[in-house]
């Protein structure tokens, strides 16, 4: 795609904005529409766009397939780990109220971490799928 100058310039401008929007959707999901699933897909879309326009090899150098495999399992482990942390705090599995001083703060912390786990897994799996299909 070396001759698609407009596509390359516009993508180079857009990809950071898309990533920033993904982070916004991830961490603003408590207050507006959004959350880990949507943010993960948006973040993955930025990486896929990068791979489509600037080449798969260059994207793989930045975001290696091995890192994506680790990320996919890390997200699930983070989610389950929050559940186990609730158990250790003397509560039920996946009950967040015991994670901080007050129940509300615990809920906020738990939801934040759980959504982060969802986002990491979704991004990693989507990018891994694209790597598998595109290579």
């Amino acid at each position: 795609m070396d001759h698609h100058y407009i596509l390359r310039v516009v993508s180079a401008l857009l990809i950071p904005v898309i990533m920033l929007f993904g982070l916004y959707v991830q961490f603003h999901g408590d207050f507006g529409p959004g959350g880990g699933f949507q943010a993960g897909v948006i973040f993955a879309a930025a990486l896929v766009l990068n791979a489509l326009v600037f080449g798969l090899q260059r994207t793989k150098q930045v975001v290696s397939p091995a890192a994506m495999r680790i990320g996919a399992s890390f997200g699930v482990l983070l989610y389950a780990g929050v559940g186990v942390a609730g158990l250790l705090a003397g509560d039920n599995f996946l009950a967040y109220s015991g994670l901080a001083e007050t129940a509300i703060a615990g809920q906020h912390l738990g939801i934040l971490l759980v959504e982060l786990g969802v986002g990491i897994t979704v991004t990693s799996v989507m990018v891994s799928l694209f790597y598998c299909f595109a290579s």
Binding site: P33, R69, L94, Q107, M126, F133
Partner: protein, 178 residues
């Protein structure tokens, strides 16, 4: 909007060019997202637009790069199968006749846990977006299942495509244990 959905679905059935089918399924997802938006399900619309219209279309196009872009000739119509499908469809339609009207206050969905979620969420969870509090806190088990499903799907695709591509055409790498 629903008629556009139906039209898109029928055109996908009729088309044989798979490139067009990939594009049409993207359009279908985008229309479905608008339908969700009209029904005030913003979070679901968001997901549908991002996954269905965005990433799924790209993945389908990436798959088409490996396969052909023409569908095989369809098998001749099996009348028994057609009758079974139409019968099951009629049964489903008959079942929907007994469902409460959309948005009815007496519907079971609006009587069971929903009032508690809507009224107590701010005190119990303290998150303004009730969808997030239900998804991540009240229904945390379900969401963990969803993440695990995505993880398992990724592992499955990786097991099918990830290793085979690397070893194609060359000697398979020697197993270290043997």
């Amino acid at each position: 909007m629903l008629s556009i959905l139906a039209l898109t679905a029928f055109s996908i059935l009729r088309l044989r060019g798979l490139f067009t089918v990939a594009m049409m399924s993207g359009i279908y997802s985008l229309t479905a997202a608008i339908v969700f938006l009209v029904m005030d399900a913003v979070d679901v619309a968001f997901t549908e637009a991002a996954v269905g219209a965005g990433v799924a279309t790209v993945l389908m196009l990436a798959t088409l790069a490996h396969t052909g872009v023409r569908a095989a000739r369809p098998a001749p119509v099996s009348w028994i199968g057609l009758a079974a499908v139409i019968g099951a469809g009629l049964l489903l339609v008959a079942a929907t006749l007994e469902m409460p009207a959309l948005g009815s206050a007496e519907a079971p969905a609006n009587l069971h846990v929903r009032p508690r979620y809507l009224n107590q969420s701010m005190d119990e969870v303290g998150v303004p977006n009730v969808v997030t509090s239900v998804l991540a806190s009240y229904r945390g088990y379900d969401t963990m299942g969803e993440v695990t499903v995505i993880f398992a799907a990724g592992i499955g695709v990786f097991a099918l495509l990830g290793r085979g591509r690397r070893t194609r055409g060359t000697e398979p790498p020697e197993d270290k244990e043997t």
